[in-house]
Symmetry: C2
């Protein structure tokens, strides 16, 4: 829908509509607190648990908004995307829920478990070679043959409006937040957060947290234009992709700062979260806490919403085991 | 207090008093549901998340009730127990919270991490040799010298009344349960559940779930008297201890059945819970789900409360990794 169109910036009205639309299909995820982390950081942290979300990740919000917003006519033709990660899974979930076709183009080298998870929701996996040119060619063919609607992982107003429902719930669940912090990759969650908070709680500061090994958003914010990394590599593999025009619009206008954490710090924060909060979060979800632990003065005494974006990890391959 | 006294059976009044007493010191833990597990089992499961409890385990309830119920005079002398596991940790938590002394006798061979966790709450670790005779001798000396109050892990009316607060919350949180199931070792949680439910919701059936490799409670229930296993060995290492007179009283009078699961089934259920519910539970907590998966006909169409008793695991040594 958006790949060739002009930039359509979603409004807060779109978030409200999205929320009404997706409510039957997503969880209103709980907010957890931890006296241990409050003591450790000197802040009062409110963890919005999108790891408990459908498909194990916040992306079920945006994907559901895109899928359930389709006309019946378009819905018959299905949806398609390319993703070997959480967006492919979320789009498959939403399409399965509506009972329409979803096609996910994935490199043939992607883990079998990820392909199986997508198929588990009833979607079709089409394999491509692990290169951008192959992916684009295969994907173009899928769309040409099926007429499927392309749902981009983040640079899509429907997706951003859907992600904006998360911080709308958060401010309903927690009073008087001083700040909200979320991990940033392509910027879908951060953009949704900006969209919602700038409208209903503009006093809340918005921070993004990024792996130092994939710090393109941080460098973009400093430079004033989008910089894309060349093949970044980090344990937080949900955060490898660059900003695009829509997400850049929100990030550049509303984000106070982008804070960085090393992979080692991310792994430590992830493990500490599992250990003390007894919840499973994926590496990307641990980046905000890792940055808070490094920037205690910034958050001291503040009420901070921390978005735990997802919980999809390979339990047989945990990073602290690989590291040791 | 109880080791030499006659059997004092706690009443539901004791549970109410316990609840008032411990409320400031424990979490009213959330109840989570999982559409995945509901589909898999054909039942409607309500998971009471004591893995989110203080000290990571339901035992914080009973330990807090014992500690905060002490007279000021007794409190000065502190509390003591022998435990290398969750009870030692919970008693240390409660004592630290009240600001009184706690001594935990632990085998010198116990993992350093467990000793460190107890010390982390401000308690004293006294080491003994890894034998019953050494443990008893060392413990007797600790009590003789300090006058500390002995808080037994489960065969103590204060502890059972404290554990009874868990199912009191559960029936407030979930309507019209048909059954509640909890793991059984010494029987503290199950006894508290029996005490509460037999008073306020006698229509709810109570099931206990036990590792097949430590099935002494199951055999006791069938025999009509307490049978203690000789050195049982199971991955669910919180469930090794035998029933005692007080817990036998509740189990024999109120438990409908004790269901068994093999270690392999327990590990599978544990891993599946982490994977699908994104929560960290310890092996003991997975025994109920493992037995539900084996006894689907029994629970089909029923509303079942499942008590996830704790979440204290060594994250660097997960059972599915040892198994592979």
């Amino acid at each position: 829908m958006n790949s060739d169109s002009e930039m359509v910036i979603p409004t807060f009205e779109d978030v409200i509509e999205a929320h009404d639309r997706v409510k039957p299909h997503i969880h209103r995820t709980p907010v957890l607190t931890s006296s241990y982390f409050d003591e450790l950081t000197g802040a009062k942290l409110f963890f919005k648990c999108e790891n408990f979300q459908k498909a194990g990740v916040f992306k079920a919000r945006g994907a559901s908004n895109a899928v359930f917003g389709l006309s019946d006519e378009q819905a018959v033709k299905g949806v398609a995307t390319h993703s070997s990660g959480n967006h492919g899974l979320s789009l498959s979930y939403a399409a399965g829920r509506r009972g329409i076709k979803a096609t996910v183009v994935m490199p043939r080298t992607a883990p079998e478990a990820k392909k199986a998870a997508v198929r588990g929701y009833g979607a079709t996996v089409v394999e491509c070679e692990p290169s951008t040119s192959s992916r684009e060619a295969v994907f173009a063919e899928v769309v040409a043959q099926s007429g499927a609607d392309f749902v981009h992982p983040y640079n899509d107003p429907r997706v951003i409006a859907g992600q904006g429902t998360c911080s709308r719930e958060l401010v309903e669940q927690v009073d008087k937040l001083d700040a909200v912090i979320a991990p940033i990759g392509g910027g879908g969650m951060v953009s949704g957060t900006c969209l919602t908070l700038s409208n209903i709680a503009p006093e809340i500061k918005i921070y993004a947290a990024e792996p130092k090994n994939a710090d393109d958003a941080c460098r973009s914010l400093k430079a004033g234009y989008i910089i894309a990394d060349d093949a970044p590599k980090t344990i937080a593999d949900g955060l490898l992709v660059p900003l695009k025009d829509l997400t850049w619009h929100f990030v550049s206008n509303h984000v106070s700062d982008i804070l960085l954490a090393t992979d080692e710090e991310i792994i430590d924060a992830m493990r500490l979260t599992w250990q003390r909060m007894k919840i499973v979060i994926e590496p990307s979800s641990a980046v905000p806490l890792a940055t808070i632990l490094k920037n205690r003065e910034l958050f001291k005494g503040k009420r901070v919403g921390v978005i735990l974006t997802g919980g999809n990890v390979d339990l047989s391959k945990l990073p602290w085991m690989r590291a040791s």
